[in-house]
């Protein structure tokens, strides 16, 4: 193998994969959108910051430092603040960022692009002061910040408890935690069993106790329905969840809030896999649209592997194991039986958990005037009246309404828009294609691409095949 292995994403999965490849002295290029490696779980403070030993950041620094130490070898090249924006062919990545732009021919490509949050649009969710659960965790972990004023946390799933526990530990005035799941015990099990790392398991297990002890309101079976404020958040409305998954507005209650944290679950970020033309499936056990993989975690495209939350929601432990398994497969080395066993058992567990956490009805808080596409400012009402909504064609709806055409490129809105409009996206046939440029790239970066050549779209092959069969 003379060409390097290219890993896209330096989160838990990508770092574990790079560390394993580094120990075999395999040439590796690790490309990451963030200025500092670590992804979301291992998010760290700016290197110029110091912390006292008693700081309560819950960031699992020891394990992160252990992984990073293994990467300080000449065979590993880390490109931070760099995006992969194109796939000229199934062996080449086109990248752009602060260290320049160009193309890398790879012997194998590992997709480790992680998860993104599932949006739950409600009127007022665009107000400054409304932040996602991941954004809330990063306030503490990446910025060392804690909000001043009243913090309310709403959502569904382990992230709610982690966010609440982290905010309370950081010293925030958390006045209420609103969990959609009627059974809080399930939420606690999830937190302890899967998403917490062994190193901080004890701390994580204390999240629930901390929430209960802090005397704040913990409501289960309720959800957010509206937020109000003049330019920034001032108050929010919550309501019990009806049989149809919508808030029961008769029982709506308003409360004051300066910061609202919203976390209704995670989705695999699959656009990179789609751009490379990997065959995809909708898999509820993995929480969304994911690339098909074999036992070696190789996708339908030869020498392209997919690992971590981007290939199915499972949290940090699964991501770390998948990183090692993919690296061993690339190296042609056997996977030690103990590692395989541990992976099988965690994989079974996360599949059960993802199913257990599904609400019987998907939650809907949006009304006609609610903005669904934040970038292009498109309301649910406008989408419902678009003729392409009746045709249940998400791609056509994108073209006619500009849904998903802003800077986030549909990551926030496409999935939730299709569910709000009642589209059946089981086969993903009308899901807009993941086309280059996959991420916003500055023209000067593209212009600096010394290896510029034709930008063929790999998934064209699949498309032309499916057209022939129609």
């Amino acid at each position: 193998m003379s060409d390097p292995v290219v890993i896209i994403g330096a989160g838990a999965a990508g770092l574990a994969c790079a560390a394993e490849l580094a120990s075999a002295s395999q040439e590796t290029v690790l490309i990451d959108d963030n200025p500092v490696a670590g992804g979301q779980y291992f998010r760290q403070l700016p290197p110029s910051y110091h912390t006292t030993s008693d700081v309560r950041l819950l960031r699992d620094k020891a394990r992160f430092d252990g992984l990073m130490a293994k990467l300080r070898v000449p065979s590993v090249r880390h490109l931070p603040s760099t995006v992969v924006w194109g796939a000229p062919d199934s062996k080449t990545v086109a990248y752009a960022g602060i260290h320049g732009s160009g193309r890398i021919r790879a012997s194998a490509i590992v997709l480790a692009s992680g998860a993104q949050e599932k949006s739950l649009p409600f009127t007022g969710w665009t107000l400054p002061g409304v932040i996602s659960a991941g954004g809330c965790l990063n306030l503490a972990k990446a910025h060392g910040l804690v909000p001043l004023g009243r913090v309310v946390i709403v959502g569904n799933g382990p992230l709610v408890l982690v966010a609440a526990g982290t905010m309370i530990a950081a010293g925030a005035d958390v006045t209420a935690v609103i969990e959609a799941q009627p059974d809080i015990k399930l939420a606690s099990v999830a937190l302890n069993g899967l998403f917490a790392a062994p190193g901080i398991l004890a701390t994580a297990a204390k999240h629930r106790a901390r929430i209960l002890r802090s005397g704040l309101r913990l409501k289960t079976g309720w959800m957010i329905c509206e937020a109000r404020g003049d330019e920034t958040l001032r108050e929010i409305a919550i309501a019990p969840i009806g049989m149809d998954g919508r808030p029961v507005l008769k029982k709506k209650r308003w409360m004051q809030a300066d910061i609202l944290v919203v976390g209704y679950g995670l989705l695999p970020g699959s656009e990179t896999a789609r751009m490379f033309g990997c065959s995809m499936e909708m898999n509820p056990q993995l929480n969304g649209f994911v690339p098909l993989r074999d036992a070696h975690l190789e996708t339908s495209v030869r020498d392209i592997y997919a690992i971590g939350d981007g290939a199915g929601i499972g949290g940090v432990e699964i991501a770390l194991l998948e990183g090692r398994i993919a690296a061993l497969s690339i190296l042609g080395a056997p996977v030690p039986p103990s590692l395989a066993r541990r992976y099988r058992s965690l994989d079974r567990y996360r599949r059960k958990l993802n199913i257990a956490y599904r609400m019987s009805n998907s939650l809907i808080a949006a009304t006609e005037e609610t903005i669904v596409c934040r970038c292009e400012e498109i309301t649910l009402g406008r989408l419902s009246f678009d003729p392409n909504s009746e045709r249940e064609n998400l791609n056509a709806l994108k073209t006619s309404s500009r849904l998903g055409m802003g800077r986030c490129q549909g990551r926030n809105c496409l999935s939730v828009a299709s569910s709000l409009l009642g589209f059946d996206l089981q086969d993903g046939a009308t899901y807009p294609r993941a086309r280059p440029p996959l991420r916003p790239v500055r023209l000067c970066e593209l212009a600096a691409d010394a290896d510029a050549g034709p930008a063929r779209e790999p998934d064209e092959i699949n498309l032309s095949k499916s057209r022939e069969t129609q």
Binding site: N34, P35, P46, H50, P128, I131, S132, C136, L139, R411
Partner: protein, 102 residues
Amino acid sequence: MSQPRMRFIEGVKPQEGCVHFTFEGKPCTGYVGETIASALMRAGILLLRRTRNGHQARGYYCGMGICWECAVYIEGIGVVRSCTHSIGDGKAVSFADGCCSK
């Protein structure tokens, strides 16, 4: 100056010495390595951007580089995500979409 909306967690110590920049013409300060969003929110500024069509207020939302709601324009650099971009000394930062009047 508006009320601070965020503060540093006890035990988090940025490197001593300030970095100066402006946001929409107003002088602001931050620390070496601090992101633009962090410095602005500590100064009480949650409104980081206005939308092109409705001039609606937007701010820090996803915190992980996906949503671009915190986008700001830095003179000489262009549009960046303020949640991951650290402050440069003397930089003029403004709304990303070139709209400051409502």
